[in-house]
C-alpha cells in the first residue's frame, strides 16, 4: 500500500454550514424557527440564514465505509458536500486528505451536444482523472454501457436510461481515494442494475474511504458497515450500521435477513 493511501482521511471538528438566503425577505420565514423537515432558520440577522449543518464532528480514515441516513432535508447531501470540500465550514474546521470523487448527480458535467465517447472523457476529467487514464478506460466503459455505436451519437439522442448507463459506467471506472455517493442511481433496467451493483461494489472496494447517503437499507448493508444518522443538520448517532438503523427506523426496523429475503423474492 502506498504512503499516500494511508493518509486518506476526513476530519471535521465543530463544523457548521450556514446558508444566507438573500432573496428571502419574508418575515414569516424569519419567524419559522424549526420544522420537521430541514435545518434551522436563524432569525437574528438581516438576511435569513439556514443552519444546514451544526457541530459536525467526524473522523474518518482509510477503510471507513459509512452510510448516511436521515429524513429529507436532514442534511445528508450538505454533509456530503462538506466532506468533499465543496462547502468549507462557516465555523469549525474540516480537513480533507485525498482525492475526492463526489457522485451526487450522475448527469453533472455532461454535455448533450457532444458524443457519448467525449462525455466519458470529460466526466472523468471532472472526477479528477487525467485524460490518459480516461483514454485507457474508454473501451472498458463502452463495453459496460452496452451502448455500442450509440456512443458516437450526441448525448441528446439518448434516453434517460442510456444516460444513466453512460454516467454509471464512467463513475464506476475511476479510482477514487475518497468516494462520496448520493443515492440517485435511477432508472435502469433490472438486468443492468445487477451488473452495475457489482461494479459499484468493486468501486467501493477500490476506494479508500466511502460515505454513502441512501434510503435503501439493502443498499446500505451491501456497501457500508458503519452509519451516521443526520437530523436537523446535526449528527444524531454515529456507530455500527445495524445499531444506527435500529435507532433511526424505530418500529419500522427490519433485520437484515428479512430484508434480503424480501429482496430475493422481489427480484424473482
Amino acid at each position: 500500500m502506498s504512503q499516500a493511501m494511508q493518509q486518506v482521511s476526513i476530519d471535521t471538528t465543530g463544523a457548521c454550514v450556514d446558508f444566507p438566503i438573500f432573496d428571502a425577505r419574508s418575515r414569516s420565514l424569519k419567524k419559522t424557527v424549526m420544522g420537521l423537515v430541514g435545518g434551522n432558520i436563524a432569525s437574528n440577522s438581516k438576511v435569513p440564514i439556514i443552519e444546514a449543518l451544526r457541530d459536525i464532528d467526524v473522523h474518518l480514515e482509510h477503510g471507513a465505509r459509512v452510510g448516511l441516513v436521515g429524513h429529507n432535508g436532514a442534511g445528508k447531501s450538505t454533509l456530503l458536500r462538506l466532506l468533499s470540500g465543496i462547502y468549507e465550514p462557516t465555523r469549525g474546521r474540516a480537513v480533507i486528505n485525498g482525492r475526492v470523487a463526489p457522485v451526487f448527480d450522475l448527469g453533472v458535467g455532461m454535455d448533450p451536444e457532444v458524443s457519448g465517447l467525449e462525455n466519458i472523457i470529460v466526466r472523468g476529467l471532472f472526477l479528477g482523472m487525467t485524460r490518459k487514464e480516461m483514454e485507457a478506460r474508454v473501451d472498458d466503459i463502452a463495453d459496460f454501457t452496452e451502448l455500442g455505436d450509440f456512443l458516437r451519437m450526441p448525448l441528446r439522442t439518448y434516453s434517460t436510461g442510456m444516460r444513466v448507463r453512460l454516467a454509471l459506467g464512467v463513475v464506476t471506472s475511476i479510482d477514487p481515494e475518497i468516494l462520496l455517493l448520493d443515492e440517485g442511481i435511477g432508472a435502469v433496467d433490472s438486468a443492468f442494475l445487477d451488473k452495475s451493483k457489482k461494479r459499484l461494489k468493486e468501486l467501493v472496494e477500490r476506494s479508500g474511504l466511502l460515505v454513502f447517503a441512501s434510503h435503501s437499507d439493502a443498499f446500505l448493508r451491501d456497501l457500508c458497515d458503519t452509519a451516521i444518522w443526520m437530523e436537523h443538520g446535526q449528527i444524531k448517532a454515529h456507530g455500527d450500521l445495524e445499531d444506527v438503523l435500529k435507532a433511526y427506523k424505530g418500529d419500522d426496523y427490519r433485520t437484515p435477513e428479512k430484508t434480503s429475503r424480501e429482496r430475493g423474492s422481489a427480484e424473482a
Binding site: F19, H62, R65, I86, R99, V100, E113, G239, D240
Partner: protein
Amino acid sequence: MTAPAVVPVGAEQQVGPGSVGCVATAQLAGSTFSAAVSDLRRGWEQRSLWGHLGWQDIRQRYRRSFLGPIWISITMAVTAIALGTLYAGLFDNDLAVQMPHILVGFIVWGFISGCINEGAEVFTSNVGLITHLPAPLSVHLYRLIWRQTLFFLHNLVVYVVMLFVFPQDLHWTGLAVIPAFGLLALNGAWAALLLGIVATRFRDLVPIAQSVVQLAFFLTPIVWIYDELANSPNPAIAERAKLAEFNPFLHFLEIVRAPMLGQNQQLHHWIVVLAITVVGWALTMVVLRRYRARVSYWV
C-alpha cells in the same frame, strides 16, 4: 447522541491499480492567502480539464453549422470591412488606415469585453459544476480566459489576411505584442475573478458591467483614431479626445494595437497597464482570500 466510534475495517485490503502513486492532496481551506494562491495553482494544474472545456465551448457555439468556428473569423471580417468602409467615409480617412485600425481595435476589444461580460457570470453560470464538484474556483476562470484567447486567435486569422491587403510597416519591435497580450490576459483574469466573485453575491453587477462595457466601447478609440482627433485643429475636439487618456481601456488597447500596426509604441501606456495589473491583482487577491470559500454558498 452515541459516541463517534468508527472502526476502520478492511484497512489491509488491496488498493486499485490506478491509485498507486497518486498523491494525496490536502485541500487548503479557510480565508488565508495560501488557500487563495493554492486555488489558483491547483486550477492551473487541471489544464487538461479547462483546456478541453474551453475548446468545447467554442465548438459548441457553432455546432452543426457547416463552417463551424470559422464563423468567428468571418463575423470579424464582415464587421471590419463594413465599419471600416463606413467610418473611412465619415471621418474622411484613408481606407488603408481606417480599416486596419478598426479591425485590430475590434479584435482586442472582443477579448476585453468577453473577459468582463462573461467574467461577471463566470461563477453564476456554473452553479451545477461548483455545487457538485470540489474543483478549484479558478478552473472556471482559466476556462473563460482560454476560451477568449481562442476567440482572439481565430480573429487573428483575419488580421493576417488583412496584412496582405493593407501591408503594415511592421518592425521587430512588433513582437512586443506577445507580452502585451500576456498582460491583457492577466488583467482579464483578475477582472473576471473579481467581478465573478462580487456578482455571485450582488447579481445586479452583471447588467451594470454589461452597460459599462457598452459605454466604454464608444469612449475608447476603437472606431475613431485617437491621434487624429487629439491633434485636431479644432481645440474643442482635441480637448475632448484627450480625455481618453483617463480611460484605462485606451492603454490596454494601445499596447496591443500599436505593435500590430507597426506604430510607435509609447512607454506610458505600458506603465499604466503594469500599474493596473499590480493594483488589480492585489485587490482581487484580497477579495479572493476573503470570499473564495463563500462562492459555493452564494451561487
